[in-house]
Amino acid sequence: MPYFEFLETYGGRFLEGSLITVVQFVLATIVSVVVALSFGLMRMSSNLAVKSFATVYIEIFRGTSLLVQLFWIFFVLPLFGITLDKFTAGFIAVGMNMGAYGAELVRGAILAVPKGQWEAAKAINMTPAQRMRRIILPQAFVIMLPPWGNLVIEIMKGTALVALISVTDLMFEARQINISTFLSVQTFGTALIIYYVFARFLITPFMRFFERSMARKIGRA
């Protein structure tokens, strides 16, 4: 079958799959940002219990495979009474995993804000919460944007695993098409290109733009 005809026949399904991938990606990114921020801050807490909880979470999610975590959330948690539909389980697993990496970026960026900023904020008598929210986090945000650019691409790539719990994303559709056509080169070649275009021509330029506009906002550019 010529490639053009292949696309004509299956293009619609690739499109549907891509749409699900985009939605999974966006939701997983939101989850990971929330997880990263909370666990990154908890990791820096002076309360030992809070800090240990965050450390253990980060260790477990970074130290084990995303696929295993996905299966746990989808297949094992129901045994403990927590049942998520496959779509939700998909982006939650990816988001919680990537959020653990993000938490370390948050912590690193907060530590990278010069000590003088904390002191100046204290000298105008800000509370610890005000210091964090008004002075430190805005600066940490700009510092951590470049590494987040990489992480966001990892999130995008990570969503391909949700196909294994039968979320009908791009990868799921590609596998289905392959099973019925045996046109592996065309099928996975197309999937490959779509993932690449997403990453390099949509996400990367967007993150760059975001970085630049944030840098300008704090007067660094």
């Binding site: 003088g116 100046a120 000298a123 008598n125 800000m126």
Partner: protein
């Protein structure tokens, strides 16, 4: 190691209480004792300058008063009340955060490296404390901040971020930011040391204005002996974590009593 706290008054009373009192204050980092049994009073409206060799503990004195460092012994009083301690059951116990914040509101500080908030304009830097901490309405905070930016000659740069300002300009904004909180005590830690020689004057002129206004109590660490001599009411020479000698500037600079003071002043004069 535990100190007998009953020797410290719960608050300073009388007609002539100092604005700042360090009483038997001790500071150490691990085994290194940085300040040993410091006793220093600063009167309301007085400008006291601290000089001394590197590592003698000058910065530490200011940082303890700003509560950027904790102390290991003694009590610091501000405006008659203990800063580092609070009363509980008739004796002083280490202060809780709420108490520290209440007393700290009387103190402002300017740093060697300015430490302006880079994500805010000059005006926003000055308004941040009044709006967020004092809860002033934005309009009032802006008026107050503009008045101060005017005073330090930075009104025309109100909308610039710090990265667009020279060192001297940044330091002037930093002074305005501290004053916007209406402190009773201002601390200056080598505020001209990071500046190019030609812009030092614009910052020292601002400090001169503050001295002339007579309503602030000031503690300043500086290596500029000429400036210290000009504007101080009293100069303290620190050596090895203790006050070696203190006197009116004319006495201390022209007629130092202690050998170490003489040596230090000679060394400074030679290097200039």
């Amino acid at each position: 190691m535990t100190e007998d706290m009953s020797q410290y008054p719960l608050r300073l009373e009388g007609d002539n209480i100092p604005m700042v009192r360090f009483q038997n204050v001790r500071k150490s980092y691990g085994a290194l004792t940085v300040l040993d049994d410091l006793n220093l009073d600063v009167d309301a409206g007085e400008m006291v300058t601290i000089i001394g060799p590197s590592g003698s503990g000058k910065t530490t004195v200011l940082r303890m008063l700003m509560t950027l460092e904790t102390i290991n012994g003694g009590v610091i009083y501000v405006d008659g009340e203990p800063l580092t301690h609070m009363e509980k059951g008739g004796v002083l116990v280490p202060a809780n955060p709420a108490h520290i914040r209440r007393i700290r509101s009387k103190i402002g500080m300017c740093f060697q490296h300015f430490n302006l908030f880079p994500h805010m304009t000059a005006l926003q830097n000055c308004m941040e404390g009044p709006v967020q901490v004092l809860g002033l309405p934005r309009k009032e905070a802006e008026e107050r901040s503009m008045e101060l930016l005017q005073m330090v000659g930075m009104a025309d740069k109100r909308d610039q971020h710090p990265s667009r300002l020279s060192g001297g300009q940044q330091q002037r904004v930093a002074i305005a930011r501290a004053l916007a909180m209406r402190p009773k005590v201002m601390l200056f830690d080598e505020v001209t040391s990071a500046l190019d020689p030609e812009v030092i004057g614009e910052v020292t002129n601002v400090i001169r204005k503050l001295v002339d206004a007579h309503n602030l109590t000031m503690l300043m660490v500086t290596h500029q002996m000429g400036f210290a001599k000009d504007i101080s009411d009293r100069v303290c020479f620190f050596f090895n974590g203790a006050i070696e000698e203190q006197a009116a500037p004319s006495d201390l600079f022209e007629n130092p009593q202690r050998e170490r003071t003489q040596q230090f002043l000679n060394a400074v004069l030679e290097s200039n």
